[in-house]
């Protein structure tokens, strides 16, 4: 039992440490960009608080110093009151100006900080290795941008100034109280401590339920997604009622945790406010006692002033306690934001560059600025010079072992040799490791053992950006970007002229359907090109690769969603595209692989057969069986 309690308080402690460290880091991040702005904000808050305090003190003295003398005076002279009121008005005006200034500056600070955070997050994300996206749900990554950054807005623009303001008010009020009367200050402080304690207790409780609410929300979210994805099945099996019942159970769990979380948060305010009232009563009574017993020269005016201060002291505590939830949520959000920021970017130790080249009369190569159609690897030498190797696109795998996890190898001892301009095809069942091989060529993943060379250069010596520029990729799942059709084709090479893009579209046989679109090449695609059919999207992806004009092509099931008739059209374009380029093709359609220079039959991460179509048929091995369909079930 005690062990449990200490454990609980331990987690509570680490949690509050985590909260404060996340908030500190967020503060540091903000100060990095807005040191000057923020100090101005703090200054203005101080100014505003001073003005408010001045006003308070004035009101306390209004009765004693101005009104009482006036009452006693035979001929009341209101001019001293008028002049003091003008002075107070001036101070108030300054306070108002300060308040506007800090509110306005804070807008820039909080929105600016969020902008910097978003941009930093985004560029960080762009630098992350593919592994990160394979191991993190896309929804989770998105939620960092939306939910988590959003929670920071309230914190930065409201909670933070509020807390600073309250802290200033608290400190100033405390000092004034100490000047006025120490015993009464003690009473006030004790009551304030009670408020802080209840706040801590209640916000702790509500935090527990808030995180439970988040979990329950996640469960509901997951359930809806799964069920909606399978909605057709739900329908054809008339399972609607059952699904509703299952949903109801999860839903009421969520209601319960939301109810409790909000209940504790909601009763915090009345409790604090009324402890404040109690504190007021205690001070008034104790003050009256002191004043009447005549000890320590306490006057009635002092007591009246003090009870006013007492009210001022309770208010900021209530205000801070109201911000508690926002603060805790912001800390959690900041924690997730910084967790993404702290991810390690894709490592790149490669030094070899890829440059435009031209051939000199003596057969050697030289770097040029302009596009010549001839490419070269620029290899740094020990003597700080460079040597140039013609980029031809020869790829060699030598004894490559690879696993997505260190201890689970999925590719075993892969060796292959692709001469420049050759077409290499991979066939095999799903999960045999075909796509994995292509992921290694462009170094989305690094191999555990063996070497991969491109034109004789070990690819881990080549800069990743240079390596990838030489590889054109058409993937099975086509992704398009918001923008015009032309923009999407030009994605392959930003400096391509419109004519180049159109020529590429013609090559891929995409020109026809593009021209039939309402705005032709200027048609704006949105939502991942949702208005196009899967086949049309793939044609665009092929055009995109064509305009990039890469020496090496990787086609991963590039024609899988194109129907047989269109495929004949695309095939012509593909053949034109593949001409003179080293091509790696993954396909399950016969027509695509038949004319390959070498076909690799893969199974369970190994190449089990290799050769040309005719050679493999002659071998009467697995390829033959796949091809002829005489494929008997061997083991059951």
């Amino acid at each position: 039992m005690t062990a449990n309690l200490t454990a609980a308080s331990q987690t509570e402690k680490t949690q509050s440490r985590r909260i404060s460290s996340a908030l500190l880091r967020l503060g540091g991040y903000m100060l990095k960009y807005y040191k000057f702005h923020f100090s101005l904000v703090v200054f203005c808050i101080l100014l505003g608080a001073a003005a408010t305090l001045y006003g308070m003190v004035f009101i306390q003295s209004l009765v004693d110093d101005y009104i009482l003398p006036l009452i006693q005076a035979a001929a009341p002279d209101f001019s001293p009151l008028a002049s003091v009121l003008i002075r107070v008005a001036a101070v108030y005006a300054a306070g108002i100006a300060a308040s506007y200034a800090y509110n306005r500056i804070m807008v820039n600070v909080s929105q600016g900080t969020m902008k910097h955070l978003r941009v930093d997050l985004f560029s960080k994300m762009e630098s992350l290795p593919i592994r990160y996206f394979d191991t993190h749900a896309h929804g989770d990554i998105m939620s960092v941008y939306t939910n988590d950054v959003d929670t920071l807005r309230q914190f930065l623009s409201q909670s933070l100034p509020q807390v600073i303001n309250s802290a200033v008010t608290l400190a100033a009020t405390l000092i004034s109280m100490l000047f006025l009367n120490i015993p009464l200050t003690v009473i006030t402080l004790v009551m304030a401590a009670a408020m802080v304690l209840t706040t801590a207790k209640l916000s702790g409780l509500s935090r527990v339920y808030f995180s439970r609410q988040q979990q329950d929300l996640g469960a509901v979210d997951g359930f809806i997604e799964e069920m909606l994805e399978g909605q057709k099945v739900v329908k054809v099996f008339c399972h609607e009622e059952q699904a509703r019942n299952d949903f109801r159970a999860l839903n009421s769990q969520l209601r319960e945790s939301a109810d409790k979380a909000n209940r504790y948060a909601n009763i915090m305010m009345p409790i604090n406010a009324n402890i404040g009232n109690l504190s007021y009563v205690l001070c008034a009574a104790a003050g009256a006692l002191l004043a009447l017993s005549g000890t320590a020269g306490v006057t009635v005016g002092t007591i009246i002033a003090f009870v006013g201060l007492n009210k001022n002291f309770s208010q900021p505590i209530t205000q801070i306690s109201q911000q508690m939830n926002a603060i805790v949520m912001a800390a959690a959000g900041a924690g997730r934001v910084f967790a993404l920021m702290d991810e390690n970017p894709e490592a790149d130790e490669g030094r070899v560059e890829c440059v435009h080249a031209q051939e000199l009369p003596d057969g050697s190569l030289e770097e040029t600025e302009s596009r010549t159609g001839l490419w070269a690897w620029k290899v740094p030498q020990k003597d700080r010079g460079f040597s140039f190797v013609r980029l031809e696109g020869g790829v060699i795998f030598d004894g490559v072992n690879f696993g997505y996890d260190e201890d689970k190898i999925v590719l075993h001892d892969i060796s292959l040799f692709a001469r420049p301009g050759q077409k290499i095809a991979f066939v095999g069942s799903t999960g045999a490791g075909k796509t994995t091989i292509t992921n290694l060529i462009n170094r989305f993943y690094d191999i555990q053992e063996g070497t991969i060379r491109c034109d004789g250069i070990n690819i881990d010596r080549i800069k990743k950006s240079a390596l990838r520029r030489t590889l054109g990729v058409v993937l099975q799942d086509t992704h398009l970007f918001t923008g015009t059709v032309l923009d999407n084709i030009r994605y392959g090479r930003p400096d391509a002229a419109d004519e180049d893009c159109i020529a590429a579209a013609r090559l891929a046989n995409a020109d026809g359907f593009i021209r039939r679109l309402p705005e032709g090449y200027q048609t704006v695609l949105s939502g991942d090109g949702g208005s196009l059919s899967q086949g049309q999207r793939q044609l665009l992806a092929i055009a995109r690769a064509a305009v990039a004009d890469p020496p090496v092509l990787i086609l991963d099931e590039a024609t899988s969603s194109i129907d047989t008739r269109t495929e004949i059209l695309v095939q012509a374009g593909m053949d034109a595209l593949m001409k003179g380029r080293t091509t790696f093709v993954i396909a399950h359609r016969l027509s695509t692989v038949r004319n390959a220079d070498c076909i690799m039959v893969m199974e369970q991460g190994r190449i089990i057969e290799r050769g040309t179509h005719d050679e493999l048929l002659e071998k009467k091995g697995r390829y033959y069986r796949l091809y002829t369909g005489n494929f008997e079930e061997e083991a059951s």
């Binding site: 009452i71 807008v107 994805e229 409790i271 462009n442 369909g629 079930e633």
Partner: protein
């Protein structure tokens, strides 16, 4: 709004109690400054300790009551708002269940999920805010004003002017801000879409080395968003200074006028102090009210999005005098024309006229996009035809109770889904009361029993979400077994053995024809070998019937069929199949 509040149901009581208790709390709070004034005037001012104690006790009692009311109000507000959210989610989900696919396509799965989570949470928070503050602020305002008038009607005129001024300023600010906020939130959606696009297309971005391009594009959008938000919130920054302006002006005015009143004897000092605190609470409540207003308007978008789903009427529904019995497995397509987007002119099926006898086995073959799956969807009335009619058992499918129809038409879909749960649980989707033995028999018929027996936990093996822990072929066989358990009059297999190797495919077909002799079977497939044993084969081409005859006749008469046959004669043309050693793994 009305529609949303209609979902309150059992929480109506709580939604009324919350403001009621808030009202009581407000009354206590409004009375408190009165007591404070009394403590100062009659107690401290006159040096009367007894009075101080008396009023102190009174104040403590009132504080206790205020605490009680406040806590109850908080409790009921929490319960009412979380209850509303719960009911809303349930109503939305319930409505989605009645949706046809045309309805669902309209919103997209992601759109529906956001509506049920983020949007509902927004409404929940706004509703709680309304319950607690929308009652509190006006009440506070009215009570405080009333107290002010009680104390000094003359001075209260100052308030009236001040409040009018403040209300105008706040209204102006809100009006201007909302317009900008509206723009900003739309821009925000675009920004998120950009992120989403990048997360999904990361391989493309990296393959083409376009990280810098994407970064600069994003920076530009983020900057645009920043400008809009600064504009909107810059306007909001006027809120608190203008309130301070009004409060301070009132204070100075009251100090001046109040001093005169006190001197002339028409007011006490204590009353002046309480006047000050009433001014503050009047202004505070106005401020709160403006905040609530902004909150509500900001959640208006969420309300609108939820209402859209709730107001959506399913475009397929069972007729009033629905037929509950399907006579037999006869299927008739009478000159059916169908498109997914009504009126778009892009016909998925054109003038399809087919008549299938009960118990017949029909093969359907055709290229991608030729309308095979659409044809299957029409039989179980997942969609409605545009013209013509589809009849099952001699009756138009639109005259059936949809549940009755679907329980007799089993479709094994092309894109099939298993759900997280055990194998047995998944199978019982077909028939809730099926015994384990019945499930086993169905699995044997679908050639699924053999691999299930290899799992250590057999039929209690857990299937992960989407069936991710078993192979494609295993999934397909389980889906067939699940459909068989329905013991349907019509069984439609939509390319449902594509991941199964040829031999098993043949075995399944054999066993199906033995187990379901009286069932009408429609087998949609890519491979000729899967359909050539059927009684008749339908050749679909671009949404039209190209041929409908036996294998032999089609080979003689149908060019398209012959073409497909020729291309597949040498082999299946498809390598993408599980290898035997893979199949029983995992």
């Amino acid at each position: 709004m009305k529609m949303i509040l209609g979902s309150l149901r059992q929480y109506k009581k709580d939604s009324l109690l919350a403001p009621a208790f808030t009202a009581l709390e407000v009354i206590m709070e409004v009375l408190l400054p009165f007591i404070t004034a009394a403590i100062i005037d009659e107690g401290l001012g006159k040096g009367d300790l007894q009075k101080v104690c008396l009023y102190g006790v009174l104040m403590t009692a009132m504080a206790a009551l205020s605490l009680l009311f406040g806590s109850l109000a908080g409790k009921y507000a929490a319960s009412a708002s979380s209850g509303l959210a719960c009911n809303l989610r349930e109503d939305i989900y319930g409505n989605i269940q009645t949706f046809s696919f045309s309805n669902i396509d309209k919103f997209s799965t992601a759109g529906l999920v956001t509506r049920m989570t983020t949007d509902v949470t927004n409404v929940q928070n706004a509703f709680q805010m309304v319950l607690r503050i929308a009652v509190r602020s006006p009440l506070m305002l009215v009570c405080s004003m009333a107290m002010c008038f009680l104390i000094s009607p003359g001075l209260s005129a100052v308030f009236a002017v001040a409040i009018l001024f403040l209300a105008c300023v706040l209204a102006l600010i809100i009006r201007m801000t909302l317009k900008v906020f509206d723009q900003a939130f739309r821009k925000y959606d675009d920004l998120n879409a950009e992120v989403q696009e990048n997360v999904a297309a990361m391989r493309v971005v990296k393959s083409f080395v376009r990280e810098d391009l994407e970064n600069s594009k994003f920076s530009k959008s983020a900057d645009g968003l920043y400008r809009l938000f600064v504009k909107a919130e810059g306007l909001l920054a006027f809120n608190s200074p203008s309130m301070m302006l009004v409060v301070y002006s009132c204070m100075i005015a009251i100090a001046w006028l109040g001093a005169r009143s006190i001197v002339s004897g028409s007011m006490t000092t204590g009353e002046l102090t309480s006047l000050f605190s009433y001014v503050l609470s009047v202004m505070m409540s106005l401020m709160m009210l403006s905040m609530v207003f902004v909150m509500i308007t900001m959640s208006a978008a969420s309300i609108r999005r939820i209402r859209e789903v709730l107001a959506e009427t399913p475009d397929l529904c069972s007729p009033v005098n629905a037929i509950h019995e399907v006579a037999d497995g006869r299927i008739d397509f009478n000159h059916v024309t169908f498109c997914y987007r009504h009126g778009s002119g892009r016909e998925t099926l054109s003038d399809v006229d087919l008549h299938i006898r009960s118990g017949e086995t029909i093969g359907v073959i055709g290229g991608t996009g030729s309308g095979k799956s659409s044809l299957a969807s029409l039989v179980s009335r997942l969609y409605d035809v545009d013209s013509g009619s589809v009849c099952v058992g001699g009756q138009d499918v639109r005259r059936y109770d949809t549940d009755a129809l679907r329980s007799q038409v089993a479709v094994v879909l092309q894109k099939n889904t298993l759900f997280s749960g055990t194998i047995l649980e998944n199978l019982r989707w077909g028939s809730e009361q099926a015994t384990e033995e019945e499930c086993r028999q169905a699995c044997q018929a679908a050639c699924a029993d053999e691999f299930i027996q290899c799992f250590p936990q057999k039929y209690s093996t857990r299937i992960e979400r989407g069936g991710s822990n078993i192979s494609g072929g295993q999934k397909q066989r389980l889906c067939i077994a699940r459909a068989l358990l329905k013991q349907p009059k019509i069984l439609i297999l939509d390319d449902s053995t594509s991941a199964v190797d040829t031999a098993t495919d043949a075995k399944i077909r054999r066993s199906l024809s033995e187990h379901t002799t009286r069932t009408t079977k429609i087998i949609i497939a890519q491979r000729i070998s899967s359909v050539q044993g059927a009684d008749r084969i339908l050749v679909l081409d671009d949404g039209r019937v190209n041929g409908f005859d036996t294998h032999e006749n089609l080979l003689r008469t149908n060019a398209v069929y012959r073409e497909i046959y020729e291309s597949q004669k040498k082999g299946t043309g498809d390598f993408n199949r599980p290898s035997p050693s893979m199949k029983e793994g995992a």
